[in-house]
Amino acid sequence: MEAALRAIYTVWYRETLRLLREKTRLIGMIGQPLLYLLVVGQGISAAMGFRGVPAEIPLNYVQFMYPGVLAMSVLFTSVFSGISIIWDREFGFLKEVLVAPVPRWATALGKVLGGSTVAMAQACILLCLAPIARVPLDLLMVLKLLGILLLISLALTSFGVAIASHMQTMEGFQMIMNFLVMPLFFLSGAMFPLHSAPPWMAFLMRLDPLTYGVDALRGVIYAGADPRVTAFLVRYDLVTNLSVLLLVTAALVALGTWSFSRQD
């Protein structure tokens, strides 16, 4: 057990060391969400208004998109961090860890925690940008949001590790992005509300675990808003959302560590 904790800590510590070392990486990481928020969000709402929402509801598209952008950045960073274990295996550090007297699952778990730490650092920066999107937040809300985002990122980093365990090289990365990660993102309701989707898509959206994450984030952010806004945007209650998230996270963490310790 002690060896397992050592491995978890070491792998996590390395990940955070690298994060601190590469400050440009952090700045780069918030570039994309910022671009979505400012350019895509403003652009869409300026060009065509926000037609998903009934006219009497006081909400603009950027406000609608903000939680989606939070989820998006955590999604991409987490999956990417998880998959990056392939590089570690190919170019160094991980080889070291694999001959050390520590269990494999602990190594994978350390990677999951490390990747989540990176994603959470990014989330913190985005939360500081809430005023730009004119989304009012208080401390309690921030804490709740961080909790939800942490669950999402643990699930998705594990997902990345699980994928990486079945890949030999980075070659399949683009395909994974296009056929797994992008659909997860688009079907989560981060960019458009569930209501406006055609039935087949609404069905797929309900299967996407990220939908519940995004919904939970909206539930927290719009809790104090106009009840019409909440009724329009928030689909499930917090308990449902959190239960689904917890289950999915537990399952994916188990899958990720198991896949990683099984590979040759």
């Binding site: 050592r6 070491t10 170019f91 550090f93 001959v99 007297p101």
Partner: protein
């Protein structure tokens, strides 16, 4: 005394390639044991099996008395390894790389700091410990990897081509260091190489080719077994001497780059005879003591470092070989 590494009929098959083909050998405690062989001989595969990174297809290997398949954790506690390919985190500093290693092996913080100083001093990197590894030269990286492999005081240290791509000076320094280690800490060293000169540093060497051990002995004995001297005969332009020499003396001349290679009992006497018999048809003759290269040649009929890699071998090498050449 029991051998610290015992390998019995070890075999590893990848799909259709037999990488290691039923090898058996033992290494004694405190010995420097070398695997000498060309690309693709199965050296790294053997090391990976001994380090518990690969499962053997069949056969058995014991390290410090523990089975590599059944008790990998115990085995891992007694070994250190320097991989053929770079395995440092080049975004971190030298000290951080060592520190992470120490954490992984559960060294208490104070002891770890002390050991770090010790090994950094040993490989002459103390002054550069705060620098990022990505700014290190190949030799510095190699030295750092060796330092890291020793940080937890393993009983057995595996070195997979430890001096590949290093200049002679650095190579010499690393060897002095390895000899020192054995003297002071009685560490057993298992290394692979395809440099002949380097293999001379080992107490015993196994010459390995196509996954099989072709010979195993001390460097001196291996050369002695060959007996006599080696002559390199460069024929004058256009002369095809091989069949003539073979017929006249009952020797087997082997074509090499410079001409023909002959193996004879008394080189000096033979030169005179050869010169007299083939007057005018020989450009030059040179005499030398047999090297391990000659031993390899006589065992396998090939030089160990043939420039012309066959197409099949090249396919096996990439992408690994490709990566390797970059460091």
């Amino acid at each position: 005394m029991r051998a610290v590494i015992e390998v019995d009929k070890l075999k590893k098959v990848f799909q259709s390639i037999v990488a290691v083909d039923g090898i058996s050998f033992e290494v004694k405690e405190g010995e420097i044991f070398g695997f000498l062989g060309p690309n693709g001989a199965g050296k790294s595969t053997t090391i990976k099996i001994l380090c518990t990174l690969l499962r053997p297809t069949s056969g058995r290997a014991l390290l410090a008395g523990f089975d590599v398949v059944r008790e990998p954790d115990t085995v891992r506690r007694s070994i250190g390894i320097v991989f053929q390919e770079n395995s440092l985190d080049d975004r971190l500093t030298a000290a951080e790389n060592l520190y992470l290693h120490g954490l992984l092996y559960g060294l208490p913080r104070r002891l770890l700091k002390q050991r770090m100083e010790e090994v950094l001093e040993m490989v002459d990197l103390a002054a550069r410990q705060k620098d990022l590894v990505r700014n290190f030269s190949g030799g510095m990286r190699r030295r750092l990897e060796i330092a890291r492999g020793l940080l937890h005081h393993p009983r057995i240290l595996f070195l997979d081509e430890p001096t590949i791509g290093l200049d002679p000076q650095t190579r010499k320094a690393i060897w002095e260091y390895i000899h020192g280690l054995r003297r002071e800490k009685n560490i057993t060293i298992f290394m692979t190489t395809h440099y002949m000169e380097e293999a001379e540093n080992c107490d015993r060497i196994a010459i390995i080719d196509h996954g099989r051990i072709q010979a195993l002995d001390t460097p001196a004995n291996l050369k002695q077994r060959l007996g006599g001297d080696v002559l390199i005969v460069t024929p004058a332009d256009g002369a095809d001497l091989a069949p003539l020499i073979a017929a006249r003396y009952g020797l087997e001349p082997q074509p090499v780059e410079e001409g023909l290679r002959l193996q004879v009992a008394d080189g000096a006497a033979f030169i005179l005879q050869l010169a007299a018999d083939f007057r005018g048809r020989i450009k030059s003759i040179s005499l030398r003591r047999p090297t391990l290269d000659d031993v390899f040649l006589s065992l396998t009929g090939r030089a160990i470092r043939e420039e012309k890699v066959s197409a099949a071998d090249r396919m096996h090498l990439s992408p690994r070989g490709h990566l390797r050449r970059r460091h």
